[in-house]
Amino acid sequence: MNEEFRMKNSESGDPAPSEFFIRNSSFRFLYAGVLVALALEVALFYALTRALS
């Protein structure tokens, strides 16, 4: 295995996603905001489709 990568890996620790999970609370709001915006878009698009078809 490439030593360069072993080194990077050992320096940065286990790259498992659990280690990097959301710690910053402002990002939690952003993630939730994105999903809420998507849900609102779908609802709006569906209403448009129903109203205009």
Partner: protein
């Protein structure tokens, strides 16, 4: 095209190239050249990510999709915001921490060089082909409407992109993309305003939307589950999620955009802005197409939008038959225009009976017109077996050239060329990165100096540019362009995503299981595409699920070992 249009077009393109050359000067180190020294802010990343995905094909073909098929194509993007959130949580911090140059570099830490090379090669094949098609789109424009030599146009646009991409690397690509996207969106907004203003005086925006809805063009959401139809809510949510996860998480042309972020936060913000803006942006582009459709209810459209094929069939043995179809089309158009005008009047008068009557009449007439258009396409195909029977890509162009005022035509053409250049540039940039970092440096020249790597990267950019230009010259047999690009990606994205998901989440799965799982997944996708009528968005789901399942199964059969230690 008038001289003012020429001036706007040439000035815009030269300004973009000059800006790219200026922004990308003095690139000495590989990290500078390939990752803009990891110094970019979230707004540049967001615009760059969006510009990479929004090629000329997006601006040419998408309005045509709305014209022929309605706005349901927007559902393809419903999985994208969810994918952005998932990638912001998982992939972005991992890539940043490992300070990788390419997504495939990360895979070596999990599955060894064999899987890294396999995924890099899959990427190079599909991105190479997609970038070539991206380059072909503007050539299509000019060969159609201006009578230019399409091959020469491909060469000129390709050469301009190669010039600033090779010289300035990722920094030049990302900064020019921000301006190119804004120019493209400004062009679309101008086209929308002109389309609405060109409607008869008594038809306003609300009336236009109602007419479009009546004729099935505002069919944005369809909850009906059917694996054989490409665009419904479920295929968009699940298939689209897989495509977006694979495209933004494993395709180097996108990963490279957010690897340039100054921090994890900057990269995440870039992706999340994309999550918020992408669906409304696609809705807007499709809405332009829907309004062009309404415009053509009051101004006679051609029966077939590709003028070259129309001219060919008129001169052939099918000419008389085609003329008869044109007469039928013109008669139907007159009836449709009268019915649409009466529908608008009835809606203004709030006359429910008249509205219902006119709606039924309009739908019947539209059905008749669709049949006439299908018959025209069949004749064109009979006359020339190599001809594309779909005219989706020509609708918006025809509208631009025949109906927009002087100066605005130049702006729209500049917008389309800008979009083509931006997507091509990031394609070439990422192809060069992966070729150098994952293939050349990894397998043949590990101890090369940074400066030599930069020089090889520049030559690799030129080489991929030449490949794309050559392939673009043969890309006119692939049907609707936007579908072609996404179809090529869907052959590979499921497999790529499976490998990355295994790398992120299945810590017990080792290199051998991941490699053979990927081979199995690719075979499953190819078999699905040949032997079933499954819509192509679902190939991504098949590839991903088959790859993960096969790898887990193979891992169970293998003797227990530590996957990291087992690497060669």
């Amino acid at each position: 095209m008038s001289s003012i249009d020429w001036f706007v077009l040439i000035a815009t393109l030269l300004a973009i190239v000059a800006y790219g050359l200026w922004k990308g000067r003095r690139q000495q180190r590989l990290e500078q050249y390939l990752l803009a020294d990891r110094q970019l802010r979230w707004y540049t990343i967001a615009l760059s990510v969006m510009a990479t995905q929004a090629s000329a094909i997006t601006f040419l073909s998408t309005p045509g999709q709305a014209y022929t098929d309605g706005m349901r194509f927007v559902q393809f993007y419903l999985g994208l915001p969810i994918a952005m959130v998932i990638l912001s949580i998982t992939a972005v911090p991992i890539y940043h921490r490992l300070r990788v140059f390419t997504a495939y570099e990360y895979l070596e830490t999990r599955f060894g060089p064999r899987t890294r090379t396999l995924t890099a090669l899959l990427f190079l094949v599909q991105r190479g082909l997609s970038t070539a098609i991206t380059l072909y789109a503007p050539a299509l424009i000019v060969s159609l409407v201006l009578g230019w030599n399409a091959q020469l146009t491909t060469l000129v646009i390709g050469a301009l992109v190669i010039l600033y991409t090779t010289t300035g690397g990722t920094k030049a690509v990302s900064w020019t993309q921000t301006h190119q996207l804004l120019i493209a969106l400004a062009g679309m907004a101008t086209a929308l305003v002109i389309a609405i203003h060109s409607l008869p005086p008594r038809v306003g925006l609300v009336d236009a939307v109602r007419v479009a809805g009546t004729m099935g063009r505002i069919n944005v959401i369809d909850f009906h589950f059917d694996v054989t139809t490409p665009y419904n809510f479920w295929s968009g949510l699940f298939g689209g999620l897989m495509v977006a996860l694979a495209y933004f998480g494993t395709d180097q042309s996108q990963v490279q955009r957010y690897l340039t972020g100054a921090s994890v936060t900057q990269s995440r913000l870039g992706l999340l802005v994309n999550a918020l803006v992408k669906v409304p942006m696609q809705f807007f582009i499709l809405f332009v197409g829907a309004m062009v459709f309404v415009f053509y209810q009051f101004v006679a459209p051609p029966v077939f939008f590709n003028p070259v094929q129309r001219a060919k069939v008129l001169q052939s043995a099918y000419g008389v038959e085609f003329r008869a179809l044109e007469t039928t089309h013109a008669t139907t158009f007159d009836a449709k225009r009268a019915a649409a005008t009466q529908l608008v009047d009835a809606m203004r008068a709030r006359d429910a009976n008249a509205i219902a009557r006119m709606r039924t009449q309009l739908r019947t007439l539209q059905q008749r017109d669709d049949d006439t258009r299908r018959a025209a396409a069949t004749l064109i195909r009979k006359n020339d077996r190599t001809a594309d029977a779909a005219d989706t890509d020509y609708v918006f162009l025809t509208f631009i050239m025949q109906n927009l005022p002087r100066g605005v035509v130049g702006l729209l053409l500049a917008a389309i060329f800008c979009a083509a250049m931006s997507a091509t540039a990031s394609g070439l940039n990422s192809l060069a990165s992966s070729s150098v970092v994952d293939i050349w440096r990894r397998h043949t020249a590990r101890e090369q100096s940074d400066h030599r790597c930069v020089i090889v990267s520049k030559w690799m950019t030129v080489a991929w540019g030449v490949f794309c230009i050559l392939f673009a010259l043969y890309a006119n047999q692939l049907g609707s362009l936007i579908v072609a690009v996404n179809k090529i990606g869907s052959y590979f994205y499921g497999t790529m995503l499976a490998i990355f998901l295994l790398a992120f989440y299945a810590k017990r799965v080792g290199a051998t299981a991941a490699f053979w799982g990927a081979i199995f997944a690719e075979a499953a996708v190819v078999l699905c595409s040949i032997f079933t009528n499954m819509a192509w968005l679902w190939w991504n789901v098949v590839g991903c699920v088959a790859g993960i399942a096969a790898a887990l199964f193979i891992e169970m059969l293998l003797p227990a070992q530590n996957p990291i230690e087992a690497l060669p």
